[in-house]
Symmetry: C2
Subunit: 282 residues, 2 copies
């Protein structure tokens, strides 16, 4: 057992990071090392970014080569795992699973055909059955978890609060159906709902559908109800803030305690510069 | 009263058609004249298509010039009205209501700020209060109402039926929130949900988000639960069928009895040619 005072309860001294794209895998590695832990990154080929993972002990493995991934993690004595960074849902024809991958796909079964949340929850379950402990990235990046209340200088007004309320109801409903984690509301009108296309494309579309003579416009991002926080937490970066501003929005509301800011200071600076609010809601 | 044997029960002999874009205003006019009625078309400026409405007695009036619209309809002795053809939701800055328009906007009140369905229902209510009888376009175009069952040669298979079932649940949920009337589902996965952008743009996006190694892909269009059928019925034309085919979909499911086909024969021909199914569901 570890003699560390802070951070998550771990079963070993090495944290295995299953890394998709973006900067967060590197941030988790840095945080774990700062806690006195060893890390090993399995970078998903075609998704993990070399500049992010190559400063750390790592190997690139195909997403579907589950046998190779599991034996690599065991050889590195990583019993604690973090899944972090976006991975596009692969097409079956691209998967080419290895023998263990094919067995695991059979175990995942119908969840392969469900929404993202069902699939990720099934992967977490299978990894647990294989003897690993799965942690959320937020357990390592507690400083990057968006907290309740307003970040930055701009406050949401009464009209923005009303739009946030409507957006919550919408995201709650689409989340229950495992569709997505976000929507854009302007003055009571739902401009766009996020499904497979992701937040960036939804923001672009919302900007084009925005009603020019009407006030407001808010991006609302929240967990799906019942979503496992160890996979696919909503993520906001400075680019998200800038894209929201380009779409003519007044602010972003995110679920407090369940959203990762890839660069908290950069998000606040971008929001202040663009005159947007950034509000953590419960 | 009219001595006609078929068609809707009318209070007068002239049908006023409040016309947005597309071919349906002309089809309603032709059907009403074939029933022995007189028609007068108020074409909403910038939305109604000249080639469609100019063969009939008509006048162009701005959408927000409600006083002018009402006095024109009264002068033409049109007590029966049909609202048909898409109108983009106007921005407040573009509206420039006349005096009656401003009074009507005040009567519509909060519904101005709600989704499309709330707004249209409020407009139907105000017109009824002004002494008009509002009819659905489907009362005149009974031959263009999509019926239950499969049109054309292609049948949905079991997997398509499952996707239709999931799509119904999704459209039902987003309809209850007055968000939109459609979605695209592929093999259990919701690729795209329609909000303000309309069906064409959703289909384009669904095609880009489609999972290449997985089977299927279905467009589902339905009324919002409780929606007034006298306004904004879901509409499918041959172009919709071709766009669904370009997006790689296998078929289209529409709500039987509550969907207008702008060109039923053309829709079936396009579906047969592309190998898509067209299914009316209840």
């Amino acid at each position: 057992m570890s003699g560390r005072k802070n951070g998550p309860a771990l079963s070993g001294e090495c944290v295995g990071i299953l890394a998709g794209g973006g900067p967060l895998p590197g941030q988790v590695a840095r945080a774990a090392v700062a806690m006195g832990l060893r890390v090993f990154i399995v970078g998903f080929q075609d998704f993990a970014e070399p500049a992010i993972i190559e400063p750390w002990p790592h190997r690139y493995i195909r997403l579907a080569a589950a046998g190779e991934i599991l034996s690599c993690l065991r050889a590195e004595q990583c019993r604690d795992l973090v899944l972090i960074g976006p991975v596009r849902r692969p097409s079956f024809s691209d998967l080419r699973p290895d023998a263990t991958g094919a067995r695991i796909m059979a175990r995942i079964g119908r969840a392969l055909f469900s929404g993202d949340d069902g699939l990720l929850a099934a992967i977490v379950r299978v990894l647990a059955e294989e003897g690993f402990t799965i942690h959320g990235a937020h357990e390592f990046l507690s400083g990057s978890v968006g907290r309740r209340g307003v970040l930055g200088r701009v406050q949401p007004d009464a009209q923005a609060q009303a739009d946030i309320g409507r957006g919550r109801a919408v995201v709650d409903a689409i989340g229950r159906l495992d569709i997505g984690q976000g929507c854009v509301v302007q003055d009571g009108l739902v401009l766009a709902v996020e499904a497979m296309e992701g937040t960036d494309r939804m923001l672009l579309r919302a900007g084009e559908c925005r009603q020019p003579g009407r006030p407001g416009g808010v991006l609302v991002k929240m967990l799906k109800p019942g979503q496992d926080r160890r996979a696919d937490l909503p993520t906001i970066g400075p680019d998200t803030v800038r894209r929201a501003a380009q779409a003519g929005l007044r602010g972003i509301a995110f679920q407090a305690g369940a959203t990762l800011l890839t660069d908290p200071d950069g998000c606040v600076a971008a929001a202040n510069e663009a005159g947007l609010f950034l509000a953590g809601i419960e």
